[in-house]
Amino acid sequence: MAKNLPPKIRVGWFSFSCCEDNTIVMTEVMNDHWQEWKQLFDFRYARVLQSKNVLDEMDIAFVEGAIASEKQAQFLKEIRAHAKKLVAIGACAVVGMPSAQRNFFNENQKRQIDFLLARFAALPKVLKVSEVVPVDVEVGGCPMDPQDFLTKVNALVQELRGGQS
């Protein structure tokens, strides 16, 4: 009888205010790892990959992008509540920049954008992910470094499986 495989790691991939460069890098990393990921991951939520997405219990939530509105902040809190581990992916998630560049605008630049912030109910300041929820692991970079991403993901998978790969 075949040995039972360990349950798949339940993951979500979420993008907030950013250019989604890390999503693109992730799909390029997939070129070499898609067969392994098919066996390893249960994508609960990854709108770039699939239409049927559910926000439920996750082992790992990957979050890219900065937080630009209260609505985004609330959704991020929901993600955090469902995730054992939350990984901030890329510069905008980890340090806020460059999506948070409007935080540093001068008065003239601010005047140009104020009506748009009001029209779309944006937050007065763009926030990095850790300003809204606790973050377990950070993968910085603009875009993220593929090897750094793989190393940290593999370490998390090991940890979640209690040292069993």
Binding site: D21, N22, F43, S51
Partner: protein, 430 residues
């Protein structure tokens, strides 16, 4: 009469976030609002006061997937402002950079975003490895993407926010071993590209509606040079582009929309193929033969076939350039800051992209403007959705209409940088 109120709150397998509101009154579609809902990150304001040398890398961050197109467009705008004429070798390396982008980006759209619709799957990774056709397509997808990614890394240093292309040239040249490996990977992927073209040639989706097209048309099919043409034979001088793109404010959208001659128009692979298929690489034309007779086409779903053909052209021309050209070190050309306006125009994967930069003599940027393809397509998308929904009323279930709308939007391969998180369809029926 037919009345219902439907909210579809997610569009998936596109880049960015979008919302859609459809108003139906007595069985007639009265209004379609397609809006980009990604939060603005204000790059046109952020560039003000920054040194011109920092602008291309800053503006590449507008979009992760079209990053290298923004990078090259901004470099062109800055070089023109600085009075720099790039060397022939630099132009070749930029051409290769665009080919790497087209191969990997079109493949992402065609396999991961659109192909599940054809095979009735939710996700590309759901394809069945025990089914010989689906097994082959799974392997094909990642082989083509990897070849494009390798070409981008070889020439530009990275697929996303590439470090090697700079104002005045390249900071690094491809090495001989890498060139050979790139040629081998590209040639190995060619049969997969031909299978991809076959899939989209035979795809069963169609929506034919007369509209207008616009693209940058070069001497030889490509994405960097040429003249901006429309389908009525009109030519637009780059320096006058703003006079020909009529800005339309859609108060419900974060993106700027545009018309040309008072009408909606489409940019992207279908526009390019309709206006310039005779300029494709000779090997591409010879291989595809009658397939190219499908163009010109006003069927928006042929945009995907046009993208697949562009992968083949990019592959064939990249192999020729890499096999016949030698790259030798040359200095990066320096410019002199002055009071000037520089305009860059390239064909990004999703259509014509414009960057304008107003340079100050102190080397800093006074201001700038960026016009992106999805903004130009926004009104055309609305008009297509209007036609689609009207065609489907009154006998199609709402869920099916919502799916058909998503499928249509995916055919445009929109980039809301970019969009993708939510498409919210609000049906308002009176």
């Amino acid at each position: 009469m037919h009345t219902f109120d439907l909210t579809l709150d997610r569009i998936t397998k596109v880049e960015g976030s979008a919302a859609l509101e459809v108003r139906v009154k007595e069985g007639q579609v009265e209004e379609v609002h397609f809006s980009v809902t990604d939060y603005k990150r204000f790059y046109t304001q952020a560039m003000q006061g920054k040194n011109v040398m920092s602008i291309p890398q800053l503006l590449a961050r507008i979009c992760g997937t079209c990053s290298n197109a923004h990078l090259l467009c901004s470099i062109e705008a800055c070089e023109r402002a600085l009075g720099i004429t790039p060397s022939p070798q630099t132009l070749l390396l930029r051409t290769l950079t665009m080919y790497g982008l087209m191969i990997r980006d079109h493949a992402l759209h065609l396999y991961l975003f659109s192909m599940p619709d054809i095979f009735g799957k939710d996700a590309f990774l759901d394809f069945d490895e025990n089914d010989p056709i689906q097994h082959q397509l799974l392997h094909d997808a990642f082989e083509i993407k990897a070849a494009g990614n390798f070409l981008s890394m070889l020439v530009a240093g990275r697929s996303v926010h590439a470090p090697y292309p700079v104002i005045g040239g390249f900071s690094h040249l491809p090495e001989e071993a890498g060139i050979k490996e790139a040629v081998a990977k590209l040639e190995a992927a060619r049969p997969a590209v031909l299978r991809l073209i076959k899939v989209y040639e035979e795809a069963p989706f169609h929506l034919d509606r007369q509209t207008n097209f616009m693209a940058l048309i070069p001497e030889r099919y490509g994405f960097l040079n040429g003249r901006i043409c429309d389908n009525e034979g009109g030519l637009i001088e780059e320096e006058n582009f703003r006079e020909h793109l009529e800005h339309v404010v859609l108060p419900y959208s974060q993106a700027s929309a545009y018309k040309h001659k008072g009408k909606a128009y489409m940019v992207g692979a279908l526009a390019r193929m309709n206006l310039a298929k005779d300029k494709l690489h000779p090997k591409t034309k010879e291989t595809l033969g009658r397939t190219l007779d499908l163009f010109p086409s006003t069927d928006i779903y042929r945009n995907s076939l046009a993208q697949a053909v562009e992968i083949l052209h990019s592959l064939d021309d990249a192999v020729e350039i890499l096999s016949t050209q030698e790259f030798s070190p040359e200095p990066v050309i320096k410019g002199t800051p002055r009071e000037a306006v520089g305009i860059g125009v390239v064909e990004a994967p999703r259509g014509t992209l414009y960057h304008q930069v107003h340079l100050h003599p102190d080397g800093n940027v006074e201001n700038g403007e960026i016009v992106v393809p999805t903004g130009q397509n926004q009104i055309n998308i609305e008009e297509d959705i209007h036609r689609l929904v009207q065609n489907l009323l009154p006998n199609t279930p709402k869920e099916k209409i919502a799916f058909e709308i998503e499928k249509l939007i995916r055919a445009y391969d929109p980039c809301m940088s970019c969009a993708a998180h939510f498409l919210k369809v609000n049906w308002i029926e009176e």
